[in-house]
């Protein structure tokens, strides 16, 4: 639909150093997050990351079909990434493409280290991700939204995963590439991390970069991921604050002091990590870090958008 020749000649960075959508090199696109977006899933979330619109649904832990896939010592995590036919400029064919299969796989591997699959032998945890509109960096935004949906389903996790890309456009390193930067820029590195744990769980790259440029891009993406992680924590905390308000007069159990103290007894002995304690630590940290001013306006924009609702 769009004129590819004109696109290739278009500069990605203008004279003032701003990108096609008016951002600076280290600026994220506006991000809006929602949890509990779908009424029939066990857990669900929605993300608008730039023009990306992605919804994730989680079911489980639940009975696994077909049964021959069951693993006797752990749950099976299944992740499916799909794009709506109208999510891209030229209609996507309805059948899953090779690209969608590959992204499903890397997303599964990005999320799996965060889960305590050994707590649910023979069961399945299913994550379904549907891209309603794609705008560059959809696999990163998918990691962000899938991780929120898992948390919304109440599945214990070692931490949250967030995703953000960085790359090279017009010779400069920039964070969070949009559609056109992704298509005609020199390089793109999709990255997903659990920043609390300092673990990279998704890393791909295509294009051409020197080692120094790669290192710079990696730290820019990591910085973006830290900012996105704060938004994830805020939106999760907000949901539970709302629930507490709705419950009203009932004796209130604060998640910090009660719930997480009770549960470790139920943990299976062979579990190497202590999930509940970690969950608690993350919650507390989120509170402490909440007022921390972020460098960019992205977060406040999101918060404004939420306030309007």
């Amino acid at each position: 639909m769009s004129d590819k020749k004109a696109e290739a000649e278009q500069p990605l960075i203008d004279a003032k150093g701003l990108r096609t959508d008016g951002r600076k090199l280290d600026e994220l696109r506006p991000i809006h997050l929602e949890v509990g977006y779908l009424s029939r899933a066990d857990g669900s979330a929605y993300i608008e990351h730039g023009k990306n619109k992605i919804v994730a649904a989680v079911y489980g832990p639940r009975e696994l079909h077909p049964r021959h896939l069951a693993q006797s010592d752990r749950a099976l995590l299944r992740v499916t990434y799909r794009m709506a036919t109208f999510s891209v400029s030229d209609r996507k064919r309805p059948a899953p493409s090779r690209r969608e299969h590959e992204i499903s796989m890397v997303l599964r591997q990005a999320l799996e280290p965060l889960l305590f699959l050994k707590m649910y032998p023979r069961a399945a945890i299913d994550v379904f991700i549907m891209v309603l509109e794609a705008d560059g960096g959809s696999r990163c935004a998918s990691a962000t939204v899938a991780s929120l949906a898992l948390a919304d389903a109440g599945i214990p996790m070692r931490g949250l995963v967030a995703g953000c890309a960085a790359g090279k456009i017009d010779g400069k390193i920039a964070v969070d590439l949009n559609d056109i930067e992704d298509k005609i820029g020199e390089a793109d590195i999709p990255l997903a991390m659990s920043p609390d744990r300092g673990e990279i769980t998704l890393l791909q790259m295509d294009g051409k970069l020197t080692a120094a440029e790669f290192a710079q891009a990696l730290s820019m993406a990591e910085n973006g991921i830290h900012r996105i992680q704060e938004m994830q924590k805020t939106v999760l905390l907000e949901k539970y604050a709302q629930i507490r308000e709705t419950i009203g007069d009932e004796p209130d159990v604060s998640p910090e002091d009660e719930v997480f103290e009770e549960e470790p007894a139920k943990e299976p002995a062979e579990e190497p990590e202590k999930p509940k304690k970690r969950a608690k630590r993350i919650k507390t940290e989120a509170k402490e870090t909440k007022p921390k001013p972020t460098k960019k306006s992205t977060r406040s924009k999101t918060m404004e958008a939420q306030a309007k609702k």
């Binding site: 639909m1 779908l38 009424s39 029939r40 899933a41 066990d42 669900s44 023009k51 619109k53 919804v55 994730a56 649904a57 079911y59 639940r62 079909h65 499916t80 799909r82 709506a84 036919t85 109208f86 999510s87 891209v88 400029s89 209609r91 309805p94 299913d126 379904f128 549907m130 309603l132 509109e133 794609a134």
Partner: protein, 262 residues
């Protein structure tokens, strides 16, 4: 398939005998409809529709293609749908099952056999180039009666559709341009679904009613009040009179729904 408890089934049947429904509606009441147009900017038209809590996202993509050999001067309108598992814990991945295919085909027939879109106006050059209007329906939440929810979402997305102008070079492929005109559309067809439970016939069954229904009758009423398509589902029969009554009821109810459309 969703399961229904025996006690819920008893309750639904007992209420119907008194002329009541489990969610408090009358037999001819359709659940509240909410419509959000144009949410998906990469689609040429889109609509997200809630029918009660059932929720469908419809999007339209426009392509230029060759017409079918038997209708060389007509554009093509194709509707398809998918039951991706985000909409219900009972939906599974894999090739479309009976339910998914029936939904696609019933909604497709309602729109295909309607006169709302004049297909000859979608012809660019007879026998060579026509507009192809591809309407895809994604179910976001199944709370019953997806057929009607999808039908409303489909016609709203068509109504939202901007038809790109095209450029056909002497050689090479046709190209869609940025410049658009609204897709011309007359009063839209709407599909209305009745559920037969015991001897009661109700409109717009919710999930619980759908689970206990014995039969279902979907009727697409076109913009000119004629019937565009029908589909009976289920092993229980309808009498001739019941079908005639349903058509009459559908004709009344469809007028109320039309006032709520954009």
């Amino acid at each position: 398939m969703d399961i229904v408890t025996e006690i819920e089934r008893e309750q639904i049947l007992a209420l119907l005998r008194e002329g009541k429904r489990i969610d408090g509606r009358g037999f001819d009441d359709v659940r509240p409809i909410k419509i959000k147009l144009g949410h998906i900017t990469k689609a040429e038209g889109s609509a997200e529709v809630w029918l009660g809590k059932s929720r469908v996202l419809a999007g339209v993509k426009i392509q230029v293609g060759k017409p079918f050999p038997d209708t060389p001067n007509e554009g093509v309108v194709i509707t398809s749908s998918e039951l991706f598992p985000i909409a219900s814990p009972t939906f599974e991945l894999g090739p479309p099952d009976e339910q998914s295919i029936e939904l696609s085909r019933v909604v497709d027939r309602g729109i295909r056999h309607s006169s709302a879109i004049n297909r000859t106006e979608l012809c660019i050059k007879e026998g060579e180039h026509v507009y192809m209007v591809l309407l895809d329906l994604y179910i976001l939440a199944d709370h019953g009666n997806l057929i009607d929810a999808a039908s409303i979402a489909g016609v709203c997305a068509l109504k939202d559709t901007k038809l790109p102008k095209i450029n056909i070079p002497e050689s090479g492929e046709a190209e869609l341009l940025e410049d658009t005109t609204p897709l011309k559309m007359g009063p839209p067809p709407l599909t209305l679904t009745f559920a037969k439970i015991g001897s009661s016939i109700i409109i717009d069954p919710n999930l619980a009613e759908e689970k206990v229904m014995d039969a279902r009758l979907s009727i697409a009423i076109d913009g000119d009040d004629s019937i565009a398509s029908m589909q009976k589902w289920g092993t229980s029969p309808f009498t001739r009179q019941e079908v005639i009554d349903c058509v009459e009821r559908a004709n009344k109810i469809v007028k109320k729904i039309r006032t709520q459309l954009p």
